[in-house]
Symmetry: D3
Subunit: 241 residues, 6 copies
């Protein structure tokens, strides 16, 4: 079975805000989705917890619990690599862990960060290592458990300031059927309440854009919710549409 999805992120929140719709949509079709969080976002994206006086371990535990709950709400499995953040750096363990995850899950689709993010270097790093591990997992000569993988398409999800990150969306995914699921998952991330409004608005705006770009065959209404993605390899298809 190859219709599973692997989602690789630098920090736990990323998969909810930026790819929660795609995850819930795949899960709603009965497909397996496995999220790999490279770090807990403990240093770079937990300012409110640090300000409360949490210890490093407490921050990690808190972020892990939240992420597990959100993944469950979306219908996905989740793994943690605990590879430190700010900065997230390459280690042999992280690289091998990602190769192993690819081979175990045999994904038909891969989601990760965009190639650049001048506001958060961890995102760019996560993109690079996610792609590196995908190529290594394809080679019989590279060690690791399980079979080599094929060439699953890779999609970058939307960064916070897309224009500054060279993010030009070329895929708009209609997530209307699972919008309530994504909303519920977002509400689990209690520490970042202002982001609920932000990403609700973004879902609505990308939905309007999807509607304007949907040809007559698809014909999406104006009140569509969507997520924007950037496809990294050519689409291979049996029909232009």
């Amino acid at each position: 079975m190859t219709d599973s999805t692997v989602v690789l992120t630098a920090h736990p929140g990323d998969f909810v805000w930026r790819a929660g719709g795609a995850i819930a949509l795949a899960a709603s079709r009965g497909q397996r989705v496995v999220i790999g969080c490279m770090s807990f976002g403990e240093r770079g994206e937990s300012a409110s917890l640090w300000r409360k006086g949490y210890t490093l371990q407490q921050v990690k535990d808190h972020r892990r619990a939240e992420a597990e709950q959100a993944a469950k709400a979306l219908g996905a499995e989740i793994r943690f690599f605990d590879a430190d953040d700010y900065p997230l750096v390459e280690t042999p363990q992280l690289l091998q862990g990602l190769i192993d995850l690819y081979r175990e899950v045999q994904p038909g689709v891969v989601l990760t960060h965009a190639a650049a993010d001048p506001y958060n270097g961890d995102h760019a790093f996560a993109h690079a290592i996610a792609l590196k591990a995908r190529v290594l997992a394809q080679a019989p000569g590279v060690e690791g458990p399980g079979e080599v993988i094929g060439a699953p398409p890779v999609f970058s999800f939307e960064p916070h300031q897309p224009e500054q990150c060279g993010f030009v969306p070329n895929v708009l995914l209609d997530i209307t059927p699972v919008w309530e699921v994504k909303r519920a998952a977002m509400q689990i991330l209690a520490a970042q309440k202002h982001l609920h409004t932000y990403y609700t608005e973004l879902g609505s705006r990308r939905g309007l854009q999807a509607s304007r770009n949907s040809g007559p065959n698809l014909g999406l209404p104006n009140d569509t919710y969507a997520e924007a993605y950037m496809r990294l390899y050519p689409q291979v298809t049996r029909e232009l549409s």
Copy 2:
């Protein structure tokens, strides 16, 4: 019904060599395909006929007959705008003719040239006016018969020297099921025999590339034939794949 395709080209040969697979594929599904040739390629792409001493009208007649036969072989309708080539320039008649064609056919998909071609300015012009007419055909305030159109996706087909034209394929279309149809249509274009070999090889090479980029779900074999396209607007979809 909106699953028809409009193909807009500068010259008659273009639709066979560069989009013959997509045309035959749509036709094989019972869909309507209408090709609009802006010129007969009488000055810029008929060197062998000029060298034989043909008059301008004879060149046009010859190219028209050939194009009609090739369109028929692919299963498509064809219209001619006779707007002169080398250079092909904008006239109110050509622009209105294209708007009218869009409104008549109500395409679900549009195919045309790439945005730039430093080896043939007619191609870049055809791209520009095809897109311009598409936007105008969407507006109720613009005169013309029939209903306004929606926002059909547009795909550029592959130019002869892709790297010099800024052509980076982001869609590879598997045309294996109709390869023999495309081959037959190519053979009708008797004046350009060396192109048969060239485009057979290109179909094979793009097919190999499609195979290498096809995820495990699609799983194309190495002996696939494909055509390369460049999608101009974001893809709107209900599933990442």
Copy 3:
């Protein structure tokens, strides 16, 4: 006096939605702002009026009245060139009219559309002719009333789908002090109610982005309203900040 602003747009609505804050801000400082509308947007952006059965002249009159009211609300003068839209094309009258406007107003700042817009060719055209006329207005050898102009900086305002238009904002303008003025001007454009929400949200989102990119010296709060611009020529300054 050279602290006046010229705003050149293809259609009447553009200056309100996209540059209303900049206009109101300049006006609030007592500076002169002159808006030049190349067309009335009568064909391409008046679908609701056409559907009501208005004649061409009625559409134009309606759009003119609305635009005059909105300009007044923002504190600006407005001129109309009535050069037709969809498509807006170059005529000697339009070009000379723009040259004359530059020379009359002697702007210190110029605002216009972005260079590309695959959803609306009039916008790209308006950009091109606005820049062309600016260069011509600088030359003593080009005829026209008044003195030649200097080299005022030019800013593109934000298109509707910025990523598809190559729009990468490099200036974020804090319009918080005049937000209520912009809101009032938007409410005058009764035909496009859904855009009120859209541009209120955009103002808020660009404001948040401004806050995140404002250095410690400026220190904008999160509830800032802002408009995004793209500066076309190098900024010349006496201080880095």
Copy 4:
């Protein structure tokens, strides 16, 4: 107080030739400027000293003394990280040292190299780590003395072969008032005499360009001296100009 400037360079000479005007200008306004030199340029930019038979330590001492004198002439403080050059590589010490410097100085403006330099990899590296450390210094979860910093704007100064480095200046800084100060600092760098002429000419050429791009409000004369910069994040402003 947040109106201080941090200048981060790979080698000692860089800050004089490429940013000496900006440094002297800020200092002339009574602002604090702190230069951080990641290396002494001992291997890559001290060919004349090596040819004289200096030892490594002698080369470093010589370059340090020169740099201290030049910084003083410009009115700036200077720190050395002694992290080796050719190649300059990331170490935990260098990264933490830069974070600490940011937090100590709390800069309102940051200057560093351009993102690419195919003639000197140290420059590209210095750019990357300067930006990385700036983001890390913003996070409460990242250890280090002092308060986290805000989001100061970053400017790249001009590389030696700008077109080959993707350097497209978008800010031209008028340094005429401090030109003599920059000239004096350049004369301290005795080993590279031919560069005096080169950078005097560059200052004059960028000044002419500034004059040609200065709007009527600024109105710079032809004999302006300027330095070119590339702003990396959107400018946030309260007035378009």
Copy 5:
């Protein structure tokens, strides 16, 4: 014989300042060089003559005489198309004139402006029509005297503000042997004295860059004079060097 050069410019001064070295160099080898000036630069680049009160015809006569003298000094022929400037626009006469010139001269090399110039639209137009005419001149079906041409390489010469014009030099031409010839030609253009210094400095700076980029086989000294060009089509060669 096909070793002749065609130089196509918008205005008379362009060929001296920007390509005078290449012209003199080809002429010094006994090759034919034919310059085609599309306009006399009468409106856009003759401000000093207009300020003296010259009539349009006087301006044209003056610019023509100067250009003829400069062409002679460089060893080249010159033709004038008198197609008006500011703006220079396409006419059937200009296009056919350029086609005819290509066919008459049968160039082995073509020089013209860069593709973009936000400071002077005539330059971008001249580039576009020079390339358009070159392609048309290759087609047997396009009318005109003489034989069709081959595919001569095209080089853009350097605009005044290269970074703003997307000009990234990929060819540096050593013009040291004819530097005195170029200098003499520049001195003929009496109206633009400040440009003598500017282009002398540019020649020296590009020469230094050539020296730094010349491999060991060529080994140019530091005091080289050079002109920068941008090759528009792939170089075809029998040896990498």
Copy 6:
């Protein structure tokens, strides 16, 4: 003597398929060519050997023997750095080895991979370290045997999916005189038979493109064989052609 060539590749096959013509051409002129293979391609490009059950050492031995034979057929020397592949990573030994090779051979020309390859990260890495070592080898302060090198031009050879790698060929090298030599070298690489056809077709296609882009002076026939390259630094020349 400086007319030697250094070819730096990630894996052994690369130099045959992608640069075999250039190597044979230089060798046929009596020039020295030294190939440096950073790894044996043992993990990433030896799938068929792994499937046969070879040990790691057997794979390496097999690939080395094949590469030595192919290099000999082309007329070149070959060195192996055995730095591991998939992933190929920077080590001090590899970097110093490359510096030493540059200094020993004193190349007049350098060939290596393109800057990016989303299908094989080793290729991008090999490009980066090849350029890094070249700059370091130029500096007297960097240790190593022999004299510092000059600034030899660098050419990237063609990757497998050029458009996805940002590879835009700007040099087409006529390799017709040595085509049979390249063919013989390709046949030595027995494990990758399908690539013989692929690269024969590519040689023919690039040859046709060379013919179409060759000016009248060179005048290549249609049945030319060529290799495509991307020049990384400006060409320095004494004649435009």
